[in-house]
């Protein structure tokens, strides 16, 4: 009998708290085959566009599709790199400027795998996951975020 790994949820309502990141790091204390962790954090920028300043980004996603896609990315990354573990968290809802909206965390025995895997996950996630961001300005007007 084959037991398939079920897609993990990556979405969390609201910003990702630094204390959550600390707890996640702390949990790896018992995994003493790890030598290096690579972490990427996305933070909401207060961009100024035509005199209006972004106060928050409201994230939405096609969740079922995003989780299936993320699962495929995860499988590909584990097949490609000798990782000990990998964790991905993305915010949904309104995230204020200065808050963390993305947390990618990879760990491996030697640093190269963790670093390369982390970068590749961030790139693929931005290109392939059906997630959208509404940049909300201080005056309540908005525009849709575009990834470059």
């Amino acid at each position: 009998m084959i037991t398939e790994r079920k897609p993990k949820n990556i979405f969390t309502q609201g910003p990702i708290a630094p204390s959550f990141i600390a707890d996640s790091i702390q949990k790896h204390n018992t995994k003493t085959n790890i030598g290096g962790h690579s972490i990427f954090l996305g933070q909401v920028r207060a961009d100024e566009i035509d005199g209006r300043k972004v106060s928050a980004i409201e994230y939405t996603a096609y969740e079922e599709m995003a989780l299936e896609k993320m699962h495929a990315i995860r499988e590909a990354i584990f097949a490609k790199y000798p990782l000990v573990c990998m964790h991905v968290h993305h915010s949904l809802g309104k995230i204020a400027a200065g808050d963390i909206c993305l947390f990618v965390f990879t760990s491996s025995a030697h640093r190269k795998a963790a670093i390369d895997a982390c970068n590749e996950v961030v790139e693929r996630l931005k290109a392939e996951l059906p997630i959208w961001g509404k940049e909300i300005f201080e005056d309540e007007s908005y525009q849709w975020k575009e990834n470059k």
Partner: protein, 77 residues
Amino acid sequence: MAVQVIVFGQLTDIMGNSPVMVDHAADTSELIEQLNQRYPALVNKPYIIAVDRQIVTVHTALSGNNTVALLPPFAGG
């Protein structure tokens, strides 16, 4: 042969946040044609199409139990 259509991101400004039902559409081309008539603002918008969460190209046949999603450029992270 009713197909459910859902949209995201900037397309919700045109079609709203609720699923839209389209009655007769044999494939995705026919579906888009009908949507373009109902929502003229949709015509020049950039998006890709997913049928039952799989990205498809044009002329994908629809069975009637499908959920079609119109996905504007992704902006996660």
